[in-house]
């Protein structure tokens, strides 16, 4: 039996759909001999309250609801997009904060229960894992210690990190990486989730922790290993709709998920 922990954090968006998808991921992974736990840190809002009343948090092992951190919000700016209730976010402050907090709950749970995880992810709550990637995870997680993957501790699985110099019209700072999700082994995520201390509490004036930059910066700064040769680093998507699945125009929605949602 393997064990996977989803840590999720930030503003709840499209959670009616994504919470049901999380239930699918759990059921699918459990059928493949993988125990799954979920830990979350979300911002208070009317939408959050409604989700709680409707039982959308029931799949979570532990979670905390907090007011959105003031430092992470661009006050005076209009909310971004249809589902932004708590205000336009500023850099990855809230991302990093909720990564720390959700993983803190996970660590407390581990101290209490003595369980350990083979793999841990951190992502925003409105996430869509393409079924092919989910299937890949369910296979590869059993191969972590085999000669196929030969995984070592302190490894983050992410698409290649790029030095983003000379990128015309780019808005990113120096290092560029996927900031939609981070997947790593327990040792790596134990260290990685303290990025809030590294970037924002440390407040070192010599670097910027921002969009598409912060995860890469944390990985490099803490000396974690990077791999992108298996299913753990494959791209996840953002859900754009709360009533059914809408990801991007070009993407074919997985039938398995549509059937699951229709039968719930």
């Amino acid at each position: 039996m393997r064990r996977f922990a989803f840590t999720i954090g930030g503003e709840l968006r499209n959670f009616k759909t994504s919470s049901r998808l999380f239930e699918f991921y759990k059921e699918f992974l459990m059928k493949n001999n993988i125990e799954v736990d979920f830990f979350g840190c979300f911002w208070n809002s009317n939408y959050t309250e409604e989700c709680k009343k409707l039982g959308y948090f029931d799949f979570l092992t532990d979670f905390t609801l907090e007011d959105v951190p003031d430092e992470g919000i661009d006050r005076g700016m209009p909310p971004k997009g249809n589902y932004n209730n708590t205000g336009k976010s500023k850099s990855l402050y809230n991302w990093s904060y909720s990564c720390y907090r959700s993983n803190y709950l996970r660590k407390l749970y581990q101290l209490e229960t003595k369980v350990s995880y083979d793999l841990i992810s951190f992502s925003r709550p409105d996430i869509y894992i393409p079924f092919s990637s989910l299937k890949g995870i369910s296979i590869d997680i059993h191969e972590l210690q085999s000669s196929i993957l030969n995984a070592t501790d302190f490894t983050i699985y992410t698409p290649p990190i790029k030095k983003n110099f000379g990128y015309k019209n780019g808005t990113d700072y120096h290092l560029h990486c996927d900031d939609l999700k981070v997947v790593g082994d327990q040792c790596a995520m134990d260290v990685f989730s303290t990025s809030f201390h590294l970037i924002y509490i440390k407040n070192d004036p010599s670097y910027v922790g921002s969009y598409h930059n912060l995860p890469a910066f944390t990985i490099k700064k803490y000396g974690l290993e990077v791999r992108n040769d298996c299913s753990f680093d494959k791209k996840w998507m953002i859900l754009r709709e709360d009533n059914g699945i809408d990801v991007t125009k070009d993407m074919k929605i997985d039938k398995e998920y549509v059937d699951w949602l229709e039968n719930r």
Partner: protein
């Protein structure tokens, strides 16, 4: 609080010593087996507490000092640590050894008393027992004719994270 003193071992530090420490929070963990493996692995919970205190205060500890109390004597002078500004990714050690191995002098820190910055402690406090005790792998030590000990294991871990060792 500017400093965090993390102690492990069978006994706590003497009161006469502890009460003279200013701006220092002490977290003690009773550990019967004070081998490197057990003592470093016992830092997980203090590491968690440290992060949470920093999160609440929105401020990092300026230095984290580790003492295995089983090896603490009247002559142990940890005041040297308090005078230093701790650079990140550096481990400061009292009672270190210097050994000439592979063409150069290498510094082997004490596994019993050392200090580092808060961020460096974030790495060290997340190490697990299985990251140690791989003595058969230390070819560079075997080649030199040295006896392999805990100091080599600690040295190896620090090198793996590019943590510089500085003797005091």
């Amino acid at each position: 609080m500017k400093n965090l003193l993390v102690t492990i071992g069978n006994k706590e530090l003497p009161d006469s010593f502890s009460k003279n420490l200013e701006h220092t929070l002490i977290i003690h963990t009773k550990v019967e087996d004070s081998s490197l493996t057990k003592s470093v692995a016992s830092l997980y919970s203090p590491g968690l507490t440290k992060c949470n205190l920093e999160f609440e205060a929105k401020q990092l500890f300026e230095r984290v000092i580790f003492v295995n109390t089983n090896f603490f004597t009247r002559d142990t002078d940890i005041s040297k640590f308090f005078k230093l500004k701790m650079n990140d990714f550096t481990l400061y050690s009292l009672n270190y050894d210097v050994k000439f191995i592979n063409h150069k002098n290498l510094i082997f820190p004490s596994t019993k008393i050392w200090a580092c910055s808060s961020l460096t402690f974030n790495i060290l406090s997340n190490l697990k027992e299985n990251h140690f005790d791989r003595t058969s792998l230390y070819r560079y030590v075997q080649d030199s004719g040295e006896e392999i000990g805990e100091d080599h294991e600690f040295f190896n871990i620090l090198g793996g994270f590019m943590i510089k060792i500085q003797g005091l």
